[in-house]
Symmetry: C2
Subunit: 242 residues, 2 copies
DNA sequence: TCCACCGGTATATCGCTCGCATATCGGTTG
DNA sequence: CAACCGATATGCGAGCGATATACCGGTGGA
């Protein structure tokens, strides 16, 4: 019945090699991004870094001028951001950067606690040579104790988390976590310059990476869950006292 | 510094009442969907139900004719589906319905096992009156034993899962699970008419719903995780023997 | 006289349609 | 066998009509 539609996918003869193209795409430096992708990444960066503060209106015309990008890619990016809960679009009213509050923080954390834990568990069990090397390197940086600035620590935290996502070897999980991570990252920016738990975070990271390198899935999972929970507590502390 | 951008959000005077509008939006029957939403839902339905089989090309012009919808909404829908891993778009080559294989099944299940479990746990702990009533009703239907057809069971399974997502009262989690559920649902369609585990599923559902109604989060979580794992095993069994 | 309500107009934004430029593939030809 | 060329599908941009909100002047009542 629907057989007529059953046309072949891209290059059936090399069907087993379709995935590498995706990896190549991911590995592509930064050049071959479409304007839509470009707009998405740049606007996301602005929102996460609070350059576009929560609750503010998103002026499409202004973005178009700022980024020198046409209307279609901008709209495309905004729709994507809406699906990721970074903006909210009200028909014929405007598009707004989503607000942040304690409730959202809790909702985000609820999911991250289990999902990041899951990723850490998988990463520990599936750790490949390349990921092992990268994580060892990150561990060295941590133990060197050079990272004291909060912004640097944030960068490092990003690298650690994203590395673990990849090491878990589950692209769906990776994508999902990436989305939640950006939501969390914005919260971190929000409480930046509030002198919160630097040492604890470093220690948690160290223990986490060691567990992953040791292949101890259960311990890695616990570490990660604790790390995320602790993160929430710190953010919450700053958030409520304001 | 960025204060210039800090324009007010929509109707700051009624800032506390922004959420209800979202609920109203969700509660809106089916009428006020934009064409983009319409296209998304209809194409998704076609893909999940295998009317557009895995690996087939997605002909934009044909969809436009079939659905009597313009090009922009179709593109919009396809981009959204691409982000949800139901189609894959290759620049200047075409758009294809994503293939399914054992690996994907495993990746999907990995996430669902923890996430669905998490949702069940939260649902059990946060069960409100309305959700309690709805779930009791679902339990009655299950225990009546009238549902024997596999397609009916599938419908019922959908209702149960979606109800639990909502009962968990975490919109982010709900959205994420909805995406994964559609991926799983397509796999179920794939092995339909293969006479697989009807009774077990019903029993699992019954136990799950009882746990949720009893407010036993831990048990609900275990039930759900087992349910999802069992689901994978059954699908896998059929998938490998072909 | 002043205030509250109300209807009409103005504006801004959005969703959608349409057309052009571009890049890739497959077949054909020298 | 290599290179060219048409076919195809996408990326992007501009414009049109629709719609919801905001503004404003008028009117009725206290």
């Amino acid at each position: 019945m629907a057989s007529e539609i059953t046309i072949e996918g891209p290059r059936r003869t090399a069907h087993a090699e379709r995935i590498p193209s995706r990896l190549a795409l991911l590995a592509a430096p930064e050049a071959a991004r479409s304007q839509g992708e470009e707009a998405y990444l740049r606007i996301r960066e602005r929102i996460v870094s609070l350059e576009m503060p929560p609750g503010s209106v998103v002026n499409e015309a202004r973005l178009r001028a700022d980024l020198s990008i046409g209307r279609t890619p901008i709209r495309e990016a905004l729709q994507r951001l809406a699906h990721e809960n970074l903006v909210r679009s009200v028909p014929h009213r405007g598009t707004f950067v989503t607000d942040v509050n304690i409730t959202d923080l809790a909702r985000i954390t609820e999911v991250r606690v289990v999902l990041e834990g899951c990723a850490a568990h998988l990463a520990a069990e599936r750790l490949g040579a390349a990921d092992r090397a990268a994580i060892s390197e990150l561990l060295d940086v941590l133990q060197a104790g050079r990272v004291t600035d909060q912004r640097d620590l944030m960068k490092l935290d990003q690298e650690i988390h994203r590395r673990i996502y990849r090491a878990a070897r589950n692209s769906l999980l990776e994508g999902t976590l990436e989305r939640y991570f950006n939501l969390s990252l914005r919260l971190w920016y929000l409480v930046l310059d509030h002198e919160v738990r630097l040492l604890e975070a470093v220690e948690e990271h160290t223990e986490l990476l060691r567990a992953v390198l040791a292949g101890d899935g259960a311990r890695a999972e616990r570490c990660m869950s604790n790390h995320v929970s602790g993160f929430e507590l710190e953010i919450r502390k700053v958030l409520v006292e304001r």
